[in-house]
Structure formats: structure tokens, C-alpha cells
């Protein structure tokens, strides 16, 4: 027999939504935004340091930029492997997600998560579970831009 619910305990969907909205903690907007600004800025500042370092080795701007991106990807990937990235990301939010560190983290964390399903069907094939969308949509955007520019302009 189904338990009877006293009518005063019944909630309409609307009342339920109102209550959940009231008790769900709102993200502290200003604090999050400031932390994201500072941490993301810091990552880009470190990137600029690396870029100037690579440029001083005689790399062109484009090469130095590629080397910088690769280095930052390495750092993000290593910190993910060490289990440190998540702790930083919980604090920094978009500050670590928006720079390319977030891309590195999404690749490495997916690879780690699915490692137990095997080297081929797990680690390797699931590596792009999260980052795939970024590559697919980026490529489609570039394709459309390229077609428009070479056919019509």
C-alpha cells in the first residue's frame, strides 16, 4: 500500500521550485569574478614570461607562442596527474578553465578516468570525451569562415 501523504505536506511544483530557489546557495558572484580575474591573469602573466624566454632563444613570435601554449598544456596536464589541478580549479573557477590549462585538464582527466577501461578502448578513445566539442566546433567554425572567404570575398 502506498503511504498516504497528509495534504498539508503536499507541494505543488511551483512551491517546490520557490523553496529550492530560496535555499540553494547563490554563487558569490563578485568574489568568484575577482578570483577568476586574478588567477587567470596570473596564468597569462606566467605565459608571457615563458613567451619572452622562448623569444630570447631566437624563436619567432609564432614559434614562441606555440612553445608557450605547449608548455602551459604540459603544466596543466602534470598538475592534473598529480591531483593538484582540481584543488586549484575549485578555487580559481574560470581562471583555470578558460586558459589552455582547462583544455589540458579536460584531456588528462578524461584519460585518467577511463584508464581502467583499458589502454585502447579507455584511455586513448575517451581522451576527447570533454575536449572533443571544442575541437569539433572550432574546426566547423574555421571551415565555414574559410569557405565564405575563399568563395565569396
Amino acid at each position: 500500500m502506498a503511504p498516504r501523504i497528509p495534504s498539508r505536506l503536499k507541494l505543488t511544483q511551483q512551491e517546490f521550485d520557490q523553496i529550492t530557489q530560496k535555499i540553494t546557495p547563490r554563487p558569490p558572484l563578485a568574489r568568484n569574478a575577482v578570483i577568476a580575474f586574478l588567477s587567470g591573469g596570473l596564468i597569462c602573466l606566467i605565459g608571457q614570461l615563458l613567451q619572452n624566454l622562448y623569444a630570447s632563444f631566437g624563436y619567432s613570435t609564432q614559434e614562441a607562442s606555440s612553445a608557450t601554449v605547449s608548455t602551459v598544456i604540459f603544466i596543466g596536464s602534470l598538475l592534473t596527474g598529480l591531483g593538484v589541478f582540481d584543488q586549484i580549479a575549485r578555487f580559481a573557477g574560470a581562471g583555470t578553465a578558460v586558459p589552455v590549462t582547462g583544455f589540458a585538464n579536460s584531456l588528462t582527466s578524461a584519460a585518467l578516468e577511463f584508464k581502467k577501461e583499458g589502454l585502447v578502448t579507455g584511455l586513448s578513445s575517451k581522451m576527447f570525451t570533454l575536449a572533443g566539442s571544442v575541437i569539433v566546433l572550432g574546426v566547423v567554425t574555421a571551415f565555414v569562415a574559410g569557405i565564405i572567404k575563399s568563395l565569396f570575398l
Binding site: G47, Q51, I73, S133, T141
Partner: protein, 116 residues
């Protein structure tokens, strides 16, 4: 001076991302994909490169730069080789980032184990 602009512009990208995370119902995955598409669109009209000239790593490290690099590779090759360049130039500038991401993630996932 380039350190200051890198810090401020890079920080602003992340601040915008955080506001979108907190204020819109979209998932971080949606928003980051949006950044890439926006970077591609800004790249196709040449705006993003000017931002990189101004802010250096502050504009080249945020993920929007990935969209810009894809578009730039495509447009450069299309100019040189015509329509086929749209495909051959796709990963011309981004291959280092994608290759680095794959190789580092592969070996690090081999060496380490997931926590928790």
C-alpha cells in the same frame, strides 16, 4: 608593460568566463565551446590578431585563441592554394597544441592513477 597587458586581458577573459558560468544556465563545456567559436569569428575578421599583438599571452592562452588559430591557418592556406587550403590549413597553427595535449595526457595518464 607586456606583462601588465597579458595579466589584465587574460584576467578579463577569465572574468567573463566566470560570469557566464555563474549567471547563465549553460554548462562550462557549452561556454568554453562558445569561446572557441567566438575566437574563430573574431579571427576571421582579423580582430583577434590585433588583440594578441596588444596582449600577447593574455590573448593567446585563453581557449578563444584556439578558434582564432584554426581560422588563421585555414585563411592563410586558402589564400596560397585555393579551396583545398580550407582543409590542408586547418591544423597548421594548432597542431602543436593538439599534439602536446595528446602526448602529455597519454603519458601522464599512463604514469599516474586517478584519485578519489
Amino acid at each position: 608593460m607586456d606583462y601588465l597587458t597579458a595579466f589584465v586581458v587574460g584576467g578579463l577573459f577569465c572574468l567573463l568566463g566566470q560570469l557566464l558560468f555563474d549567471l547563465t544556465p549553460f554548462s562550462p563545456g557549452h561556454i568554453l565551446a562558445g569561446f572557441v567559436v567566438a575566437g574563430g569569428v573574431l579571427g576571421s575578421v582579423g580582430v583577434y590578431d590585433r588583440l594578441i599583438e596588444f596582449a600577447g599571452a593574455g590573448a593567446s592562452l585563453p581557449i578563444a585563441s584556439f578558434g582564432n588559430s584554426l581560422v588563421k591557418g585555414v585563411l592563410l592556406e586558402a589564400e596560397r592554394h585555393g579551396l583545398i587550403g580550407v582543409l590542408t590549413g586547418m591544423f597548421e597553427l594548432t597542431s602543436s597544441g593538439i599534439a602536446a595535449g595528446i602526448v602529455f595526457s597519454f603519458f601522464i595518464a599512463l604514469i599516474f592513477n586517478p584519485r578519489g
